[in-house]
């Protein structure tokens, strides 16, 4: 582990159970500041559960989580969140600009309304994700990839230190995938830490420099170059991984 950088996220002994069956078990995780980390594992491995438990969205059976040394309650403004696209009703009567502005509601506090400044920040974020032409669209008129980018823009306006993204690459078009990768690298350049639940083993090493392999428990976590090895993948996925000649990895069923 990198000793020089402070830990952006530290998780100790985190366990979450659904109906007394553990979804994640005794997770210990230290994520240094400034890394792009993929959370990788088979379906049902608890990847989304891990993010939700860290963000206090679901109850924990045990465990401590701290962001830059502070508990979540004191670190909320440091945290940005991109939920799974399917988690909301896209037929909701609201515009793209409005959804992105929602990322700033938390900073506004009770009773204050978003104004000119919030509008400008939202437009800036929409420009970054390439949606500036669509700001006034009703959100159901967006393609899946555009919806994902709107969610990404909503997290960008939060101007957080550490971002959690739940499957941002799931079922998106090539343009969106490239836009997200570009944003990830910009975030890294600005010293942000990003944790991404990721499904596509092919792209892990291209997109990320840090990897956590998860299957209910943490199998391995660290720099991608060290951790993302055939042995560790086999430990994570069991026999369901096949290897190609040139060292590429392919999860069966993909």
């Amino acid at each position: 582990m990198n000793d020089r950088a402070p830990l952006a996220l530290s998780v100790e002994d985190l366990t979450v159970a659904y109906h007394s069956k553990p979804a994640i078990w005794d997770i210990d995780l230290g994520v240094p500041e400034g890394v792009l980390m993929a959370i990788v594992g088979p379906n049902g491995a608890g990847k989304s559960t891990l993010i939700k438990a860290v963000l206090n969205l679901i109850p924990r059976a045990a465990g401590r989580v701290s962001f830059y040394g502070s508990p979540y309650e004191q670190a909320r403004s440091l945290v940005g969140y991109v939920p799974q696209r399917g988690s909301v009703d896209w037929d909701f009567p609201t515009s793209v600009l409005d959804v992105v502005t929602m990322g700033l509601y938390g900073k506004l506090g009770w009773l204050r309304r978003p104004g000119r400044r919030e509008r400008d920040l939202a437009l800036f974020a929409l420009d970054q994700v390439g949606l500036l032409d669509l700001v006034d669209r009703q959100i159901s008129q967006l393609s899946g990839g555009q919806q994902q980018r709107a969610f990404l823009a909503r997290a960008l306006v939060q101007d957080a230190q550490i971002y959690f993204m739940d499957e941002p690459f799931a079922a998106v078009d090539a343009i969106t995938e490239r836009a997200i990768v570009k944003i990830l690298h910009q975030l890294k350049e600005r010293g942000k830490t990003v944790l991404v639940v990721h499904h596509d083993l092919q792209t892990v090493e291209d997109y990320f420099d840090w990897v956590t392999l998860l299957n209910v428990e943490v199998v391995a976590s660290g720099p991608a170059a060290v951790v993302f090895s055939p042995e560790n993948l086999q430990k994570t996925y069991g026999g369901r991984v096949s290897y190609l000649h040139d060292g590429q990895v392919l999860a069966a069923g993909d």
Binding site: V79, F92, P93, T94, S95, D98, L108, P114, G130, D133
Partner: protein
């Protein structure tokens, strides 16, 4: 002002005008006499419509329409208990109703939070048991000699004629507080309704905000009970919101329009029921509200059935035209030159009915000519086909190189001419790229 905003305000103005015009029209057509009672009831109905319409939008958007039904049924035992404790003063009866309904709300939430019951099951069981308790208490009250004339059963189906001026004042005062709260916490209500999980992650006290919003909905329900009754109140709550949702794409428009629809249904429904003493007001209001729903679903631009079937028609015409042009051009090129005629059987064989539709359009705009058994592109047709083919080639290049060249990111739509959607300098770059590439 954007076109959609204008349309929404026009719709709102139209409904208001329609509502006002109905008053003399009703007098003329049905001989309605606007007695003091009719005026009070119509005003009360309109004000209730505003409150329940505005709050009902949120019930609809949260997919809690039937929660409104459960909560209104659950108010009945509260009315009975309040009567036993404090007598027939409307204020106390409504407070009792609100408390019973609110307890039901929390009970449903507790069931959902602690058990594995699904929402519909929890709501169903609470609705039935609270309502049963209310009916039993009412039966008991009827048996008390002094209280038998209390007329509490009007809360079951609603009885508008019983509304008096002081009731309207009470409803208006409470309604103003509810609407003010809605305005103050607008941003919070919008956020938790759209994405509660994101709100939690942003540090909002989502439990508190949800409880506040549900409480406002309970108040809106309770205020309408005297008019619509516990059984029909759900219609008054959700119908205006459902109708309004068809016309707009913005939350504040939806809520304002729902309030206006609610006022229309409440006011006009009450006036219609004045035609004859035998027409019950509550059900009449719901009938008017339901008519608004039907009309909106059929006619609203954008989402309405008429509109979307019209749009599908236009789309299939456009696609047919484009396909016919591409097919003809491709056939002609592969047989030597763009002006080469294609046999009728061949070109129709590709797209059957849609080919005929496309060819008819091309013929009408002079892009093709026909001898009866063959079709041939005219000079303008060749020009149009070339432009289209060129656009498709540029789209191919765009897909390959947009990222490397730093072009604006677009959703690909190959039905459109790329020159209409990309800025001129980006087109210039793509054209230059095309020249460099050997074909």
């Amino acid at each position: 002002m954007p076109a959609e905003d204008k349309r929404v305000w026009l719709t709102i103005a139209g409904i208001v005008v329609l509502g006002i015009c109905f008053l003399p029209l009703g007098q003329w057509l049905f001989g309605i006499r606007y007695t003091y009672t009719v005026r009070v009831v119509a005003l009360g109905g309109a004000i209730l419509g505003v409150i329940s319409g505005a709050l009902g939008c949120f019930a609809v958007l949260r997919r809690e329409s039937l929660m409104g039904d459960a909560l209104s049924h659950a108010a009945l035992p509260g009315v009975a208990v309040a009567f036993l404790l404090a007598g027939r003063d409307l204020g106390f009866l409504l407070i009792g109703a609100g408390i019973a309904s609110w307890i039901a709300l929390r009970f449903i939430a507790a069931l959902l939070g602690t058990t594995r019951l699904k929402q519909d099951a929890a709501m169903g069981i609470v609705l039935a048991s609270w309502f049963a308790g209310g009916i039993a208490l009412l039966a008991y009250i009827q048996s008390i000699p002094d209280a038998s004339q209390a007329g509490l059963d009007r809360f079951i189906f609603g009885q508008a004629a019983a509304i008096i001026e002081s009731d309207v004042l009470l409803i208006s005062g409470a309604g103003a507080v509810v609407l003010l709260a809605l305005a103050l916490f607008w941003k919070e209500f919008k956020l938790v309704t759209f994405d509660g999980e994101f709100a939690i992650a942003n540090g909002f006290q989502v439990g508190l905000i949800n409880t506040l919003l549900s409480t406002l909905i309970v108040i809106a329900i309770v205020l309408g009970l005297q008019l619509a009754g516990v059984i029909l109140m759900v219609g008054m709550l959700i119908a205006p919101g459902i109708a309004a949702r068809q016309w707009t794409q913005k939350l504040h428009h939806t809520v304002i329009l729902a309030a206006v629809f609610g006022a229309f249904a409440g006011g006009v429904g009450a006036v219609i029921s004045a035609i004859d003493a035998d027409i019950p007001t509550g059900p009449m209001i719901i009938v008017v509200a339901f008519s608004l729903v039907l009309a909106s679903i059929a006619l609203a631009p954008g989402r309405g059935l008429l509109w979307s079937s019209w749009r599908r028609r236009l789309d299939s015409r456009r696609f047919a035209r484009q396909n016919a042009l591409r097919d003809l051009y491709r056939y002609a090129l592969s047989h030597g030159s763009p002006g080469r005629p294609a046999p009728d059987a061949f070109i129709r064989g590709i797209g059957d009915r849609s080919a005929a539709l496309g060819l008819r359009q091309l013929l009408a705009s002079g892009l093709v000519e026909t001898t009866g058994d063959s079709w041939r592109l005219t000079d303008t047709g060749i020009e149009a086909a070339r432009r289209d083919a060129h656009s498709l080639q540029l789209w191919d290049l765009y897909r390959l190189y947009a990222d490397d060249m730093g072009l604006p990111l677009l959703a690909e739509d190959r039905q459109l001419d790329i020159r209409d959607v990309l800025p001129a300098d980006a087109i210039g770059q793509l054209e230059a790229m095309m020249e460099q590439r050997p074909n």
